[in-house]
């Protein structure tokens, strides 16, 4: 149970709840018993489907009831029952959407929606065309975009979005598949920019970006920045600098920056790597100075980031002795300003020392 306030009921209120509950329990148990009996009798009728809907409306977490629902749908299809299947499946989609609005985090509802969509092409009907299927996925994309507007961090929503775009890419005919994937990845990259612009701390969007960048660098859309990785890196660093200056305390863009540097730098000539690191270091140091002026204390993420940069410089071959000393100074400051993670910073002191010793042996 999440986010439900605790209440201690008085004896009178408890008795009141007991009476209310007793009616609800009777209804629920009667319906549940009917459904179990129908299922055990292998009843796969539209009437049972309707009863099943009633039960799931009371309890959308009841996975066995969702399973029975799918058994009914499969049996109706197998028997080529005299029903309008397109209409039936559309009503299933409507049914799940209705419940997702009430329970956007319920795994079973999401799962059923996916199942319905995946079975759409199998339904016995003359009207299922590739154009119709494409339209179905377009609709799904619009629905999930709306959901992510209401809750931009709902991970079911992001998961579903990736699933839908995956299905859209798979729809392309064989010789188009590559191009379709690249195009979709590019659209999704733009989508993360849009989400981040709306809220810099949208960690889900930064995450998604980290998944798309390697794909796009591997197969760049013609004419895009991804064709020129070092230019892309420069642009991305400028974008991140803006994020850092707007909210230095948020971890999202810092972690993305760390990842981006580790991912892209090793593909570049060493001189260019060093120049990039020096540039980023300058930006971060300046930001930290501003933070110290404002708050009187170092910004944790600036210090952490300077540590990352120095570690990379050490790898490429800066003045190793000096870098180690500077890293140890940073860590000592971190122990002070971030005492909850003292154990982590102390371990870091140890590992910097050990690594340096191994290098020098």
């Amino acid at each position: 149970m999440h986010g439900v306030k605790r209440t201690h009921l008085s004896a009178q209120l408890r008795e009141q709840k007991r009476q209310q509950d007793s009616n609800k329990i009777a209804t629920y148990r009667r319906l549940n018993e009917q459904i179990l009996a129908l299922r055990e009798a292998h009843d796969y009728s539209l009437e049972s489907l309707a009863k099943n809907s009633q039960l799931l409306a009371l309890n959308p977490e009841y996975y066995s009831a969702w399973n029975y629902r799918r058994e009914i749908l499969l049996a109706l299809m197998a028997a080529l029952a005299d029903v309008d299947f397109v209409d039936l499946f559309n009503r299933e989609l409507h049914f799940t959407l209705l419940h997702l609005k009430r329970f956007p985090k319920c795994y079973w509802i999401w799962n059923h929606r996916v199942w319905v969509l995946q079975h759409f092409p199998d339904i016995p009907s003359m009207e299922i065309t590739p154009a119709l299927i494409a339209k179905v996925w377009q609709t799904e994309l619009a629905i999930v975009a709306k959901l992510l507007e209401q809750d931009s961090r709902n991970f079911h929503g992001w998961h579903y979005r990736r699933f839908v775009t995956g299905q859209m890419a798979a729809l392309a005919t064989d010789h188009e598949t590559g191009a379709a994937r690249v195009q979709l990845a590019n659209i999704e990259f733009e989508y993360t920019t849009q989400k981040i612009n709306a809220n810099l701390s949208n960690y889900s969007a930064w995450h998604q970006r980290s998944k798309l960048v390697p794909q796009l660098l591997l197969s760049p859309p013609p004419g895009s920045l991804f064709e020129r990785p070092s230019e892309f890196l420069t642009t991305e660093i400028a974008y991140l600098t803006n994020a850092m200056y707007t909210d230095a305390a948020d971890s999202s863009h810092w972690l993305y920056l760390h990842w981006l540097l580790c991912e892209l730098l090793p593909t570049m000539p060493e001189a260019e790597q060093m120049a990039t690191l020096v540039k980023v270091q300058g930006v971060v140091e300046e930001l930290n100075e501003l933070e110290v002026e404002d708050d009187g204390v170092d910004n944790k993420w600036c210090l952490v980031c300077m540590g990352w940069i120095k570690k990379e410089m050490y790898r490429i071959g800066g003045d190793k002795g000096k870098l180690v000393e500077e890293m140890l100074v940073l860590v000592a400051k971190l122990v002070e300003i971030d005492p909850m993670r003292k154990g982590r910073w102390e371990d870091l002191v140890g590992s910097i020392g050990v690594e340096h010793e191994i290098q020098h042996r």
Binding site: M1, H2, G3, V4, K5, R6, T7, H8, R18, D21, S22, K24, I25, Y28, R29, N32, L36, E40, L58, N59, E61, Y62, Y63, S64, W66, N67, R70, Y107, N111, V114, W115, Q118, R153, F155, W158, H159, R162, S201, Y203, S204, H207, Q208, S210, K211, D250, S251, S252, L255, Y256, W259, P339, M340, R341, K342, G343, R344, D347, S351
Partner: protein
């Protein structure tokens, strides 16, 4: 506030007697898991006999599905989640021998039948895929001593595809890191002896950042703290040997503040309604940090360490 041990024991003991509550009936689909949470919490609080052993075993056996697995309740469908809870409880009660060898074979066959070509597991035949189910399958097979190279290699391959830019893991390849999914992935890699695949520095850092100024832990950046994450984050840190990367005293305080000191039980955060799920994970977190006089918990299996010590370790000789 002090740890309300006796109240928590009484709270769990009373859970099965709440037939007057509508919620009792609405949660049938979670009963097997709920019983595992209750039993485990009681064992950790050194009160394993609070629930009559024979009753628990009888309930577990009554949930057997002809498909080979266990459902959450009699006449409910066999599912990996409830199958793991059933197997865990039988192991905790030292009662695995109530299953005939042919019955164990059919449980193993049920679990293995749910592994897909890419190494992932679906929760049942209706296709939901999630790293939770990989952990569930590998955990149950490990308790039964029935892992195989094929099952293990596939699972490890799938899990490694779920790693992310921040060192964490998500529910499927591409999905955002989430502390509960991290636990299932790292737990799977621990059981299969492949922790070498984890970027332990990076993951440990991300996990340690889950602790908020009030001492509680969240499951993802920018989310509220929650007692169940004291388990998902803490156990993951323990598995990669970085339990000391967060502040134990502050987390201890947060968990104790989330107790219902009147009626027993622990909730997701202070002043919320207690439930058995947050009760067991709160207590397991306390055990992992060595607070209160609790039985030592195994961070990989979330069962008493004395029980898991007896499991056959992978790779089998």
């Amino acid at each position: 506030m002090s740890f309300a041990r006796e109240k928590h024991i009484a709270y769990i003991d009373a859970l099965n007697k709440k037939q007057d509550d509508y919620e009792y009936w609405l949660s049938e689909h979670l009963r097997m898991n709920g019983l595992y949470w209750g039993l485990t919490a009681l064992c950790l609080m050194k009160s394993p006999d609070t629930l009559p052993r024979d009753d628990v075993i009888a309930f577990i056996l009554s949930c057997r599905d002809p498909n080979g697995g266990f459902g959450a309740f009699p006449r409910h469908d066999g599912h990996l989640l409830s199958t793991l809870s059933a197997v865990q409880m039988l192991a905790t009660l030292d009662a695995l021998d109530v299953l005939a060898p042919s019955e164990v074979d059919s449980i193993v066959a049920f679990i293995m039948s749910l592994q897909l070509e890419n190494g992932a597991f679906q929760g049942d035949l209706f296709g939901e895929v999630d790293t939770r189910f990989v952990y569930t399958a590998i955990n149950a097979l490990s308790i039964l001593g029935r892992l195989t190279p094929t099952v293990v290699d596939g699972a490890v391959e799938f899990i490694s595809q779920c790693a992310n830019f921040d060192g964490g893991y998500g529910m499927v390849p591409g999905a955002e890191s989430h502390a509960a999914q991290v636990f299932t992935c790292v737990g799977t890699l621990a059981i299969t002896n492949r922790l070498d695949l984890v970027d332990q520095e990076l993951l440990g850092s991300w996990l340690s950042e889950r602790q908020l100024p009030n001492g509680g832990l969240n499951g993802r950046p920018e989310k509220l703290p929650d007692v169940c994450y004291s388990w998902w984050v803490l156990s993951s840190l323990a598995i990669i040997d970085k339990l000391h990367w967060i502040d134990h005293a502050k987390l201890y305080e947060f968990i104790l503040k989330s107790q219902d000191d009147k009626d027993g039980g622990i909730s997701d955060r202070p002043d919320n309604q207690a439930d058995v799920y947050h009760t067991v994970f709160g207590i397991a977190g306390l055990s992992l940090m060595g607070y209160e006089d609790l039985v030592e918990v195994d961070p990989v299996y979330c069962m008493p360490k004395s029980v898991t010590d007896g499991f056959k370790k992978w790779p089998y000789e």
